[in-house]
Amino acid sequence: MTLLGAFARRFAVFLGTALVASVVIFVIVQALPGDVAQATLGLGATPDAVEALRQKWGLDRPLLVRYGEWLLGMLHGDFGASYLTGQSVSGQIAPRLAITGWLVALSIPLSTLVAVPLGLVAAMMRRRGLGAIVNGASHIGLAIPVFFAGAVLVIVFSVILGWLPANSYASLMTKGFSDWARHMVLPVASLVIVQSCLLVRYVRAGFIDVLTEDYYRTARSVGWTKWAGLVRHGLRNMATSLVTVLGMQTASLLVGAILVERVFVLPGLGSLLIDSVLNRDLMTVQGVGMLLVFAVLAINFVVDLLYFAIDPRLRRQVRA
């Protein structure tokens, strides 16, 4: 199998998983409630009213047809229309995409940048003060829910110090960079704090593994000092496990972004999702849910490709 073939195979798996996920989402939202129209109108509604609504939304047609329509629509970027307001779901999603996107896109690299050096120190100095402090701090940080971290940041920097805004969003396009940045600092910081504490634990464990490896001993025997050898020969080997964690964490990072949007009242995808659940706007829930799952799968697909860049053994397995 060629390298290209391996990519193609992974891409096929990615699309297949997305397809199955879309079925799961559709079934939970459309088939589980029993009757969507009844659920929307509440138990007190008259049968006639329910029936009228069913006709209006096309719910009287078979599930399979409705699923097919939904799927085909999504392929064209059309997520259907809200049952409640009649608004196009895609139209609601578009303006909110940027906010959630920024949160995730900023916090992944930033938390990695914070975690790698701290993890290195924690691994190398684990019998000494600094390592123990980093280790202990990451333990505590791991236990803090992201919305609590956000709340504390608001209390300190907005309520007490009054330096930064506690809520609302300023678009990069319309309000300019500095205003945008002032509004993004605290949300991104709360995500990075929690995320990097988790990464530190994995980076530390990865480096400690390297310390016990034969090739690290070889590196030391040819004249690398403890620290330099670990950076030179450990970093790339540790990166494999780091990438795995990053892939596994994309889902929880998206969840974190949704929670952070709630704390800072940012009008992102998460806010849209939660609002539509509370209003039982099923079509919107379904659409946003699918988009999030697709994002998780896409990031995991990219992570899969990253392995090939890092680990030459994989490249050969594929070629052989």
């Binding site: 798996v13 199955v20 791991l142 236990a143 919305f147 889902a251």
Partner: protein, 267 residues
């Protein structure tokens, strides 16, 4: 040092369990009793103060421990009871079965806990039950993968071959050799997943996707707190969540270090 952290974890977890148990029979006030003293600071009458409706925060924190523990235990039980057998089958059984389970697990893994909870809440209405089920189901792949990996390690050991040469049936190998040998790892995973479940439930409560407003939960208390008027009322439930999670994490780490002699650092 190590012993101290485990002890600390034990104390924290113990406090959570104790307040949950005690709150079943006694709390200083009825946790849902509305009073006129709103946002009162901590005092002898209200140890941790009161919230925006004048309800006693200490009583609500105590009662909140119930939901935290029950959701955590049930969610982990759901995940382990479904995930572990699937993982063992995937690790021991035919290739097709393993592949199928693996793919199904991948799909579930792409559905974040919160999204699953959101979908269930959209379909069935938000409640503790949907939250628990969602957390449980979302955790299945974690147990499945862990059990599968551990099973594969055990299956590569010669004692499994020896058992087969001894004429032991596959099902018996699973019960006699695989399960006992992966049990410690599963225990550690359960402890870690328990902390994760607590965090997830708190998140769902914070979004209003878990217990009804009349049931005090830590996440909802944080959601209802006004950061500008009474920041303390946000910090208290937040700290409760963090300390509970920290406690169970430390406990889990302690168990792992005890069980895995490799980590008793030779170096």
């Amino acid at each position: 040092m190590k012993r101290f952290t485990v002890l600390f974890g034990l104390v924290l977890a113990g406090i959570v369990a104790l307040s949950a148990l005690v709150s079943l029979v006694w709390t200083p006030y009825n946790p849902n009793l509305v009073s006129s003293s709103r946002y009162s600071p901590p005092s002898w009458t209200h140890i941790l103060g009161t919230d925006r409706l004048g309800m006693d925060t200490f009583s609500r924190i105590m009662t909140g421990a119930q939901t935290t523990l029950v959701v955590g235990i049930l969610a982990v039980a759901i995940a382990a009871l479904i995930g572990v057998p699937l993982g063992i089958i995937a690790g021991m059984g035919r290739k097709v079965a393993g592949e199928l389970i693996g793919r199904a697990s991948d799909v579930l893994f792409a559905l974040p806990t919160l999204l699953l909870a959101v979908l269930l809440a959209a379909a069935k209405g938000a409640s503790v039950t949907t939250a628990t089920v969602a957390i449980g189901i979302a955790t299945i792949p974690v147990f499945q993968r862990m059990a599968r990996a551990a099973t594969l390690t055990i299956m590569s050991q010669d004692y499994v071959l020896a058992a087969e040469v001894s004429g032991t049936p596959r099902s018996m190998i699973a019960l006699r050799h695989v399960l006992p040998n992966i049990a410690p790892l599963l225990g550690v995973q359960a402890a870690a997943s328990f902390s994760m479940a607590i965090l997830a439930e708190a998140g769902l409560s914070y979004l209003g996707l878990s217990a009804s407003p009349t049931t005090p939960t830590w996440g909802r208390m944080l959601r209802d707190a006004n950061l500008f008027a009474a920041p303390l009322q946000a910090i208290i439930p937040g700290a409760a969540i963090a300390l509970a999670v920290l406690g169970f994490n430390l406990l889990g780490d302690g168990v792992r270090d005890y069980l895995d002699p490799r980590l008793q650092e030779v170096r």
